[in-house]
Symmetry: C2
Subunit: 233 residues, 2 copies
C-alpha cells in the first residue's frame, strides 16, 4: 500500500481497533479450520459483542458483507490487517532482558503476527554480549545507533520501574515510534509516540479483586462488568 | 480480616480497582525509596490522573488523607491491599506449559505480589512428569483432584485457542474461582467465575495500529487516547 492509499483509510476509534484485532484472531482461526465465510452474528458471538456492533466495526472500511451470505474470510483478513497496519512486517527492540524480558523473548506469539525482534538491549554488563534466541544483547548506549541502522520502529520495554522513564526517553531520542511497556510505571512520552502498557501483576491482582468482590455481593450486580475482558476497554 | 469485616467493605467499580492496583504499585515503590507520605497530587501525576480522581478513588474506603499533610504510605498500602483482596496469599494453577506458559512461569512478578503458583498442568504427555521451577507438570485429568487438594482458587490459562474453552470448563468444574486467560479467545464462563483476559499479540498489534494512525492524521486528534495505557479501561 502506498502512503497515499494509507492516508485515504478512515480513522478508527481505539476501542474499535481493539475489536478489529480480536476479529482478526478469530477469522484466522476459522480460516485455519477451513472455513470460507462467517457472519456478523458468529463473529459477535465469538467475541461477546452484538452482531450490530460487528457490522458497525467492519463498516469502517466499506461494505464487505453480503446480506444473507455473510463475510468472505479471505477478503476480510487482509482488509483488517491493512486497517491495523499489520499488512507489513514490524521490527521491534526488546529492552531489558531480565526475567520478564527473557520470558517475552521466548514467546513466539509476536513473530506469528508479523513482529520481528531484531535487537536486544540491557544495562547489565553481565548480560551484554550474551546471545539469546540468535541475537546478541547490546548495551543501552548503542541504542540510538542500532535503532537507526536496523530501522527499528517499536520497543518492548521490560526494565524495572525505576529505570523505565530514562530508557523510554532514550528510545524516543533514538527515533522509536511506539513503546509496548511492561514496566509497572506510567511513562511520560511525547504525543507523537504511540504507547501501550500492560502490567501483568496488576491484572492478576484485578482477578483476585474480582473473586473477593464475589464474596461480598450477589453475583448479578457485578456479573457483566466482572466477566468482561480487560482488553475490552 | 473476618468474612464479616470483608462483607462490610464498599463495592468498588472495576475501573477504580484498576487504579487502586496502580496506586499500590507506586506506593510500594515510594516506600522502598524510604518515603513516608505522599499526596493526591503526587499519586495523580505518577499515574496520569487528576488529584481529584485520586481523592475520589481513595475515598471509597474512608478518609486516609490529612489536609495539607497528604497520605501516610504505611497506612495506605495495607488498606488498598485489603480492598483488593491481596492482603492474603493466593494460590494459582498454571495450565498450559507451552511457550507462553513456560515464560510466565519464569516471571517472578506474580510471586512478588502474593500469588503462588502451586500446580502445573498440560495435556502433552511429553511435558507431563517434567519438573519446572520446582513443580511437576501434571496431566489435565488430575485437575479436579489437585485443585481441591491444594485449595487452588485461580488459574493462569495459556493453552492454544482451540483448547481454551474445554480446559476452562474443566477448571470451573474443579472449583476454580477466577481465570487469568492468555489464550487468544473469548471464554464463555458462568457469572460466578471471575475473568481477566490478556492477548499479548493483540496489544502489540494495537501499538502498530497507533503508529500507523499517526502516519495518517495530525497527532493532536489521536493524542490523548493514543497515549492512554491499555490498563486504563
Amino acid at each position: 500500500m502506498t502512503r497515499k492509499e494509507r492516508d485515504s483509510l478512515p480513522l478508527i476509534p481505539r476501542v474499535a481497533a481493539n475489536r478489529l484485532s480480536r476479529y482478526l484472531r478469530h477469522l484466522e482461526e476459522l480460516s485455519n479450520r477451513g472455513k470460507a465465510t462467517t457472519s456478523s452474528h458468529e463473529l459477535g458471538k465469538a467475541l461477546g459483542v452484538t452482531a450490530a456492533q460487528v457490522r458497525k466495526d467492519l463498516g469502517y472500511f466499506g461494505q464487505f458483507g453480503f446480506p444473507g451470505l455473510g463475510y468472505k474470510i479471505s477478503n476480510l483478513i487482509p482488509e483488517i490487517k491493512r486497517i491495523l497496519g499489520t499488512d507489513r512486517a514490524w521490527s521491534a527492540a526488546m529492552v531489558g532482558i531480565g526475567n520478564l524480558g527473557n520470558a517475552l523473548l521466548r514467546y513466539k506469539g509476536f513473530q506469528a503476527h508479523g513482529f520481528r525482534i531484531s535487537a536486544l538491549f540491557d544495562i547489565n554488563p553481565k548480560l551484554v554480549g550474551r546471545t539469546l534466541e540468535g541475537l546478541t544483547v547490546e548495551p543501552v548506549e548503542q541504542m540510538e545507533r542500532v535503532v537507526q541502522d536496523r530501522a527499528i520502529e517499536l520497543a518492548i520495554l521490560s526494565v524495572p520501574a525505576s529505570a523505565a522513564q530514562e530508557v523510554a526517553d532514550r528510545l524516543v531520542r533514538a527515533g522509536i515510534r511506539g513503546i509496548y511497556n511492561f514496566a509497572p510505571v506510567q511513562l511520560n512520552l511525547p504525543e507523537e509516540i504511540a504507547y501501550v502498557s500492560i502490567d501483568l501483576a496488576v491484572e492478576l491482582e484485578q482477578l483476585a479483586f474480582l473473586v473477593s468482590q464475589r464474596d461480598r455481593e450477589p453475583v448479578k450486580r457485578q456479573g457483566v462488568e466482572g466477566s468482561k475482558s480487560v482488553g475490552d476497554l
